[in-house]
């Protein structure tokens, strides 16, 4: 069989841990810097955010951790990664790209200036999240339709 460039099956648990770990980090940061930062890219109009300053570190510890977590969950192998799974994976990926570009087009038409930035932030994780949800849903349906003999 051809190489499919996916992470090993167990990598999904590492991804899940990264996403769960970001919650206490976020809570701790909120306690330390009350009213501090949200999950957005540390970018303020007309200002340069220094590298590894608190907002930048917060960004790495939350947004990027969630992003890497989602990435690992999305692209780890199933227990038996056969050709049908590969087809479902590709199909889900296509839907995720469709949705992503639909939202992107919508945002390009209806938002201006600073608001566009929020859509960029959304764009970081939305395709991955939608892909995971859609893929898990079709897998669930596949398993349900294939009742034991």
């Amino acid at each position: 069989m051809s190489t499919n460039y996916l992470f090993p099956y167990k990598t999904r648990w590492l991804g899940l841990i990264l996403i769960l770990v970001h919650i206490p980090v976020k809570l701790w940061w909120d306690a330390r810097y009350p009213g501090g930062y949200d999950h957005n890219i540390p970018y303020v109009e007309g200002e340069v955010t220094p590298l590894f300053s608190p907002p930048h570190l917060f960004y790495i510890a939350t947004t990027l951790m969630v992003l890497v977590g989602l990435f690992l969950i999305a692209f780890s192998k199933e227990k038996i990664e056969d050709e049908q799974i590969a087809q479902l994976r590709l199909d889900s990926l296509r839907w995720a790209i469709y949705l992503n570009y639909a939202i992107l087009l919508f945002s390009l038409i209806f938002t201006q200036g600073g608001n566009s930035k929020h859509f960029l932030t959304l764009n970081i994780w939305l395709p991955l999240l939608f892909f995971i949800l859609r893929f898990q849903w079709v897998l669930y349906r596949l398993n349900r339709s294939a009742k034991p003999e």
């Binding site: 069989m1 227990k79 038996i80 056969d82 050709e83 049908q84 799974i85 087809q87 596949l142 398993n143 339709s145 294939a146 003999e149």
Partner: protein
């Protein structure tokens, strides 16, 4: 595309799981092939035919909708 995997399995007294293990796919994939929901690749069709010791045309055949 039609197939008679279910019949061939019955002749060999083989479960979906056993066939799946022999050709390296999940049981669900064998199930969806049997119920004509999924069309296997040439590679998988050849592997399945090999398990039953028959040419691939004896297991899989075109139906009318494929010829349109």
């Amino acid at each position: 595309m039609k197939n008679n995997i279910r019949v061939e399995r019955a002749i060999k007294n083989m479960t979906q799981e056993e066939l799946a293990n022999q050709v390296g796919v999940s049981r669900q994939t064998i199930n969806t092939i049997e119920s004509n929901k999924y069309i296997p690749s040439t590679l998988l069709a050849l592997k399945i035919a090999r398990v039953f010791g028959k040419p691939v045309e004896d297991i899989f055949s075109l139906d009318e909708t494929d010829l349109k």
